[in-house]
């Protein structure tokens, strides 16, 4: 097999991956650095982020306040040392991206403007209309083009980490265009592959968010952290789950039930619509369960009302919301309330790493939604994620540069033999799956249904156990898949099979961790254990691949200044 040599390889061309790539290219242009992505970088899902990116810029705001909001939002599961680093670096990072061309909205005087966001006690969410992720990603991508030394592998699919004795030496990757597998060697690999959203049916996530990074690490023996924490965003457009940004509430939108009541006064009277997402999402579900939702072809929903903002404000601050409603719901928020319900949105958990992006495996780093640093703990505050991409993307990049200055590469022979093993596995598992009749599509929809119904916003012991059983069955069925597509060029059926395999693996972890965590914390809400239990569960869950299913360990939470207290809004 061909080996292409690199010093640092970044898997993922989203916000995190590109930020890391730029950091490395600036710091050390002589390193052989490459970004590998299964879609063209500007197609990564960062492009879809709407509302904004949080950072302290104003005089009335402090880093401590931002840290406190984040930690409280996380239901005290965030590592506070990491959060402190995060809020501090955030300020520089958002200015840096401004200098790279991001068209942030401005105040009268030409400085960067901010808006309100859920769970934030100050106006600190910077935004580029409601296309923040789009502008951020394009600014990063376009800026990355100026580094001639940065190589890209667009539309290459990473299939496995090549690990020698616990040390990472590169990846095995499929060039989708040619159908040829190659070894991309590297002394350091940074995984920035995004979240797991596609294992849910009703999700705001794009087709590429298939848990690849977590699964790659997991299979290679590394730990993944806090996977049970999944964020449900309050406002998913009915039928598709497409996101209507939180900025629509930040700019003053109301939520109404079918009795025309702003029901959040029963759940979060002080913050109302601007309470954190987990709380708002649960309130909506409560309303729907109590029969106070509207009924439609695709289930019950409630109303997000923007009409009182007026056309001018909607066009200035929320143009994309209007575009999405017109395109995907056939209604205009200027004249009608938007039908919404909570949608799977964000993966708080991910590859276990520290505030410098380092994982326990030498040579493996991670950043972005794929990683779990953890600054989001049990619940992410809206607009902290885009900032996280910048802060921890850059940090992971710098750490990797330091690491490779002393690290020794894994030998070519060793890589060849590792790759050969993986190739055999891939051949056997996906390409010659023999006599089976199972179809990817059927298994996937079963998985997504299960996750929605049993590992959704509210969780209970029995359904979780059932979910684990179903997932195990689906894994068995997966062994009998047959691909109809046997030719090499752009075999999207093959990549879909690998993605499904990854999602099954990680879904298993999520369901298992959710079942073990017998408390309610942030995004993880147990009907049968409705309160937070710091005594038993103030810890991260670390999961490793065991012989027959996931093996869970615990890992302490770092607490610096902010002692856990009850989380009330």
């Amino acid at each position: 097999m061909d080996i292409i040599n690199h010093d640092i390889l970044i898997v993922g061309g989203g916000g995190a991956g590109l930020r890391a790539a730029i950091a490395i290219s600036q710091m050390s242009p002589s390193l052989k650095t490459a970004v590998i992505s299964k879609v063209y970088p500007m197609r990564s899902h960062t492009v879809a982020a709407e509302g904004g990116s949080a950072a302290v810029l104003n005089d009335d705001d402090t880093h401590d306040l931002h840290a406190y909001d984040t930690i409280k939002g996380s239901d005290y599961l965030a590592d506070q040392d990491a959060v402190e680093v995060f809020v501090r670096d955030a300020t520089n990072e958002v200015r840096q991206i401004e200098r790279w061309g991001c068209p942030w909205n401005r105040e009268e005087d030409g400085t960067i403007a901010a808006r309100w966001f859920g769970g934030m006690s100050r106006k600190r969410t910077l935004h580029a209309a409601d296309k923040t992720g789009f502008h951020l990603l394009h600014a990063l991508f376009q800026t990355s083009l100026k580094f001639d030394t940065l190589k890209r592998y667009d539309e290459w699919h990473v299939c496995a980490l090549l690990v020698d004795n616990g040390k990472v030496g590169g990846v095995l990757a499929l060039n989708t265009r040619t159908g040829v597998f190659s070894i991309l060697s590297a002394k350091a690999v940074i995984l920035c592959t995004g979240g797991v959203g596609r294992m849910y049916a009703f999700t705001s996530n794009a087709g590429i968010k298939t848990a690849d990074g977590a699964a790659l690490t997991y299979r290679a023996g590394g730990p993944i952290k806090d996977m049970e924490f999944i964020q449900f965003h309050p406002s998913g457009l009915m039928r598709t789950g497409i996101l209507i940004t939180e900025a629509s509430r930040g700019e003053g939108g109301y939520l109404f039930n079918k009795d025309g009541k702003r029901f959040l006064e029963n759940y979060a009277p002080s913050k109302m619509e601007l309470a954190p997402r987990d709380i708002v999402s649960r309130s909506i579900i409560e309303e729907i369960l109590a029969g106070r939702g509207f009924k439609g072809t695709y289930g019950s929903y409630i109303h997000l009302d923007l009409r009182h903002l007026g056309e001018a404000k909607i066009m200035e601050k929320l143009p994309m919301v209007r575009e999405l409603c017109l395109d995907f719901a056939g209604m205009d928020p200027v004249y009608d309330p938007i039908p919404i319900r909570p949608t799977m949105h964000y993966t708080m958990g991910g590859i276990h790493c520290d505030k410098d992006g380092k994982t326990p495996m030498p040579g493996l780093f991670s950043a972005g939604e794929a990683a779990c640093v953890s600054i989001h703990g049990a619940n992410r505050l809206g607009s902290n994620s885009l900032t996280e991409l910048l802060v921890f993307g850059a940090r992971a990049g710098r750490t990797a540069v330091e690491y490779v200055s002393t690290a020794k590469p894994v030998s070519a022979d060793k890589l060849q033999s590792l790759a050969k093993d993986r190739m055999d596995f891939i051949q056997k598992r996906y390409m010659k799956a023999g006599n089976g009749k199972e179809k990817i599509g059927a298994i996937l929809s079963e998985l997504r249904k299960t996750m929605d119904e049993k590992v959704g916003i509210y969780r209970t012991e029995e359904p979780l156990k059932e979910a684990i059983q179903i997932i195990q069955k689906l894994k068995e069925r997966f062994n009998k898949i047959t691909l109809t597509q046997q030719s090499r060029v752009f075999n999207t059926e093959l990549t879909a099979a690998m993605e499904l395999d990854n999602m099954l693996e990680i879904a298993h972890v999520i369901a298992m961790c959710a079942q073990v965590r017998k408390e309610s914390r942030g995004g993880h809400a147990r009907k049968d254990y409705p309160t937070r239990n710091d005594e038993q569960f103030l810890h991260h869950s670390l999961t490793y691949q065991g012989k027959d299913g996931p093996r869970r360990e615990t890992f302490p939470v770092t607490i610096t200044k902010w002692q856990p207290e009850e989380r009330k809004y």
């Binding site: 061909d2 292409i4 052989k32 001639d148 030394t149 190589k151 060039n175 040619t178 190659s182």
Partner: protein
């Protein structure tokens, strides 16, 4: 890109579609585009006609009058009518495009196009008066 290793990018056979020479007949907007381009031929012909008239003028009354007679013939008038239609089409497309080019904020494309038409009307009336009365 500095460190490409070409061995792995074995090119795949891509399929290249070739545009037929009749491409501009395949789509309404392309055909209208071609008609617009064609209008320039009539612009040129008209300019050449004017030049011919002037040449004749410089060669004395007799030649000028015989040329004028040709221009006054029925088929020449018909030809001019056709040319006029094309030149009107040229004008419409020209104003539309110029609206888009110059209609940046705070102006809008529509506004610029309308302004163009107003100027056009004024110019036409003034010229008409000068030529017929002056």
């Amino acid at each position: 890109m500095k460190h490409t290793d070409n061995s792995i990018t074995e090119p795949t056979k891509t399929y290249r579609r070739i545009m037929p020479n009749t491409w501009w007949l395949k789509k309404g907007s392309y055909t209208l585009f071609m008609l617009r381009e064609l209008s320039s031929v009539f612009v040129a012909i008209y300019a050449i006609f004017l030049l011919i008239r002037l040449c004749a003028l410089s060669q004395g009354a007799e030649i000028y009058n015989s040329k004028t007679a040709i221009f006054n013939s029925g088929w020449m008038i018909a030809l001019h009518a056709v040319m006029w239609v094309f030149i009107m089409y040229h004008m419409i497309t020209w104003f539309k495009i110029s609206g888009r080019i110059f209609g940046k904020k705070p102006l809008s494309p529509g506004l610029v196009t309308i302004a163009n038409y107003i100027v056009w009307v004024v110019v036409s009336v003034v010229l008409f008066l000068i030529i017929t009365k002056g």
